[in-house]
Amino acid sequence: MNRSLRPLAATALIFAIAYAIAVMQFPSMFSTRVLGNFLTDNAFLGIAAVGMTFVILSGGIDLSVGAVIGFTGVLIAVLVSWAGLHPLVAFAMAIAVAGAFGATMGLAIHYLQVPAFIVTLAGMFLARGGASVITRDSVPINHEFYAFVSDLTIRLPGGGRLSMIGLSMVAIFIIGALIAHRTKFGSYVYALGGNPVSASLMGVPVARTTVAIYALSSILAAISGIVFSLYTSAGYPLAAVGVELDAISAVVIGGTLLTGGYGFVLGTFIGVMLLGLVQTYIIFDGTLSSWWTKIVIGILLFLFIVLQRLIFVASAPGEKAARA
């Protein structure tokens, strides 16, 4: 099997086994209701994780995601509840602001040659701080559009509901996969993650690609913020703290190499679902502290980092090549 497919297969296998174990213990977990809620409850994380997948594939990291989600929520709440704008207008403005924000981080990373870690850390403080300056409190959103969207669901046989926001996550995953695997831009992202020096010598527009990657990540974080605001019907400056770390975990558990160059958008989807499964299991169990989620995620992450090490270092091509 192709080397880069192995972590993806491992993720899928672990998800299947974990789900089977969960269903054996709680048969009711195998229902359209649980599956539908899976998508809805993890939609904002999934959308942010798609952006994070691009960033990590290119060999970077984006720590500002959670803060951008929080900022977007507050911005929308303020624009809708205080300024009286239509939510769709507020959404467009939030996406534009986030796009400019991400592009600026991309510019700084490329032209100032500052590690993405540092730049996006600064971005995180800026966005979180900006949200808190606008308001310290949770701002509720009462708008008929919000009620309308939350009523938009598809009924599934067995009593489950497929919500608008769950579907939008699936759509974004599909679009993300097409961009990553089928376009020139996607191949440039992988090229940057593989070897930035080679990439620039091969004519990859490094500056443009870097800016686009971070703009994309922030735009998806903004969409994630929109989904989060639809989900909670409020904007709160301290919302989604640490979501960037969950997104990174989902990407890595989904089989993307943390150093970039290898991975699949589909893997991230399974990664997000696996995280959701762990959470749902703990809710079903009822006796376990919710902190067990963190412990399980920690174990999974560690497992996948070791697995990647084994796959990508043990079979380093250079050794084989030397003898060939």
Partner: protein, 505 residues
């Protein structure tokens, strides 16, 4: 128009870095359908010239002409549009992507905005077939051997440019069969009218494949000649700038009684790095190592020091068989190593002179017997004085010192560990005349104190001046050991250039 004979031409190229003239009015002409070797020792200006021809650098003077017309090359991509493609020493492709994508990245065929992978792989298969490669274009590039990757890189360069192909040390990591395969491809490309620039340190390969040769030395053009008119010795002489007829003034030290045997390497070597060699080193002896760059000199030094572990042969220290598989082993036996690339492998640029001096001693002492600051100052001060290290303060960062003073600090670092055996790789490269003399004096003093030294140097006069014996490396093999009174730079040049029977084509 005589210009029209050149596919690519450089006229009077000048390139200055700071106050160092890297290229001084260099002319270079490349005809279609020829393989043109570019030779010169490190620092001769080869890579600077290549970077100008590929648009990576802009010349400070002179002009570049493609097909007789003056062109300004802004960057490698721009050079590509003028038909100039380059393949670098390390394969600059993407091992994480498919072979087909590596061939076409940035130029993928698209349909409705999406990459048409099927067409790309079909095209790739056809291109690879022309290079005698029958492999799956959708396979990961990293899964293939370096030789195959190198061929893919050439295929990409030819596909995207198509007139001039610059090969910068393409054979550095290939074995003989792979080199032969590469040469077949180069011959085919040449027959199809491509102009090829070939850079290598292997003279055998130059004579096997090249039609003409241009030799650079210290940023100056020495000569461009047809290889039919040249012998190996001529080429080496032009590269090193030693006029054999007039040298011979310097002699080796007269034979002196040898000290006891300190080190005995038997059949010591490492696959793909250095052929097994035998070398006995006595106390109070300086063994000079001569050879062209890339001849395996540095690799030999690294194996001796355990920086790369040998995979065959044995070594004994003072008569006792032992094994040296890491620098820690070597240091425990009293070895020291001043590497060639001082900035990358020698100094800790941001640490102070004092810290740079005591670090090897501290490493030897271990974690639990830390040197106090006073002890450090005392040691650093002692060497600062005896080695005449010129620094405003021993607490200033070493990167602010001149190359010569940095070298003295590294020497001091090892001398502080009270070594029995020192390996110096190009100890005098890139340092000023005063420091140069100081280091040569130190080498002589250490020998008289009973240390064993191995000194690698491209400065043949210098090697002859302080060595008791000289070993000559060629093609990663120890090919000669020169002893006695009649050793002069001329003899060494002869030994370096000597044609080996059944040598690689």
């Amino acid at each position: 128009m005589p210009d029209q004979q050149y596919a690519l031409e450089a006229r009077g190229i000048v390139k200055i870095f700071g106050n160092h003239v890297a290229l001084d009015k260099v002319d270079f002409g490349l005809r279609p359908g020829e393989v043109h070797a570019l030779l010169g020792e490190n620092g001769a200006g080869k890579s600077t010239l290549i970077k100008i021809l590929t648009g990576a650098y802009q010349p400070d003077g002179g002009e570049v002409l493609a097909n007789g017309a003056v062109v300004t090359l802004n960057n490698p991509q721009h050079a590509q549009t003028h038909g100039i493609g380059t393949v670098y020493q390390e394969v600059n492709l993407l091992p994480n992507r498919s072979v087909a994508e590596n061939l076409y990245l940035g130029h993928q065929p698209t349909r409705f905005g999406f990459v048409d992978r099927r067409k790309m792989e079909r095209d790739a298969r056809a291109v690879l077939a022309r290079y005698g490669l029958n492999l799956d274009p959708s396979s990961e590039l990293g899964a293939h051997s370096v030789a195959v990757q190198q061929i893919v890189a050439i295929a990409r360069a030819v596909e995207l440019s198509g007139k001039v192909l610059i090969l910068d040390e393409p054979t550095a990591s290939l074995d003989r069969n792979e080199v032969e395969r590469l040469f077949d491809i180069i011959r085919d490309l040449k027959a199809s009218g491509l102009a090829v620039v070939f850079i290598t340190h292997f003279l055998e390969q130059v004579f096997a494949i090249a039609d003409r040769v241009t030799i650079l030395r210290n940023g100056k053009l020495i000569d461009t000649k047809s290889l039919d008119d040249l012998t190996r010795t001529d080429v080496v002489r032009l590269m090193l700038g030693k006029d054999i007829a007039f040298s011979g003034a310097t002699m080796l030290e007269e034979n002196r009684p040898l000290g006891e045997v300190l080190l005995d390497f038997k059949g010591y070597g490492k696959k793909r790095s250095v052929h097994p060699f035998d070398l006995t080193i006595h106390k109070g002896e300086v063994v000079g190592v001569a050879g062209l760059l890339g001849s395996g000199r540095t690799e030999m030094a690294r194996i001796m020091f355990g920086a790369d572990a040998a995979d065959e042969g044995s070594v004994s220290v003072a008569g006792k068989p032992t094994s040296i598989t890491s620098p820690t082993d070597a240091i425990a036996h009293g070895f020291g190593f001043c590497p060639e690339d001082r900035k990358a492998e020698g100094i800790f640029g941001d640490l102070s002179v004092r810290e740079n001096i005591v670090i090897a001693l501290q490493g030897k002492l271990g974690w639990f017997s830390a040197l106090t600051r006073d002890e450090q100052m005392e040691i650093a001060g002692r060497f600062g004085e005896s080695m005449d290290i010129r620094a405003a303060s021993l607490d200033m960062p070493i990167k602010l010192l001149s190359g010569g003073n940095q070298q003295k600090v590294i020497l001091s670092r090892w001398l502080a560990t009270d070594p029995a055996f020192l390996i110096l790789d190009e100890p005098t490269r890139g340092i000023d005349v005063g420091a140069h003399a100081e280091i040569v004096r130190t080498i002589n003093r250490l020998r008289d104190e009973g240390l064993a030294l191995v000194v690698i140097s491209s400065e043949l006069d210098e090697v002859v001046a302080y060595s008791s014996r000289i070993v000559v490396m060629r093609d990663r093999e120890l090919v000669a050991e020169l002893n006695g009174e009649n050793i002069n730079p001329g003899v060494i040049v002869q030994a370096i250039a000597n044609h080996r029977d059944g040598a690689q084509a």
